[in-house]
Amino acid sequence: QKEVEQDPGPLSVPEGAIVSLNCTYSNSAFQYFMWYRQYSRKGPELLMYTYSSGNKEDGRFTAQVDKSSKYISLFIRDSQPSDSATYLCAMTMKTSYDKVIFGPGTSLSVIP
């Protein structure tokens, strides 16, 4: 079993839809959970991160962590064509710079 699993998509939604992106993981020691966005031919950029369980909101984006189920989600409200990108989840234990595990990414297209 891979440490982090993510549906690769592609996911195609109409503009204005609510998008749900998800990852599951197996290592219960993970404490920091990140979402990166990667546009075509660019490097990933950090969208947001959460510590332990709970929700975090930033504008149209909400990150949710359920440690009991080992499941994290990123919700995008009122999706825009500019949200079309690949979304990578990532997670790490508290202090390890090198032990950040990335999911393979979900490709999202928002159709005008």
Binding site: M34, R41, K42, G43, Y49, L88, T92, Y97, F102
Partner: protein
């Protein structure tokens, strides 16, 4: 605006060639990383460095080496390129485990 730059966006090399990929960051970060990104496999860590002249192996170091002579510069070296090293190579720097700043990537093709 923080910046990580990589020396080439696209590179085509022949099997057996020695390949140098360079990365420069302007954020004074101590930690720098080299990843490769392949479809379905996500980002895999090749090497990282937490200080000048220091290096640590990541998950897939075989066939690669690195050099960090200055704080802002981290180089990845493919000693003898092989076709299975065809990939997207991403450099990153960071000051915390949760936030990495990535360069635009180098798409390397080995023929």
């Amino acid at each position: 605006d923080v910046k990580v730059t990589q020396s080439s966006r696209y590179l085509v090399k022949r099997t057996g060639e020695k390949v140098f990929l360079e990365c420069v960051q302007d954020m004074d970060h101590e930690n720098m990383f080299w990843y490769r990104q392949d479809p379905g496999l996500g980002l895999r860590l090749i090497y990282f460095s937490y200080d000048v002249k220091m290096k640590e192996k990541g998950d897939i170091p075989e066939g690669y080496s690195v050099s960090r002579e200055k704080k802002e510069r981290f180089s990845l070296i493919l000693e003898s390129a092989s076709t299975n090293q065809t990939s997207m190579y991403l450099c990153a720097s960071s000051f915390s485990p949760q936030r990495k700043y990535f360069g635009p990537g180098t798409r390397l093709t080995v023929l």
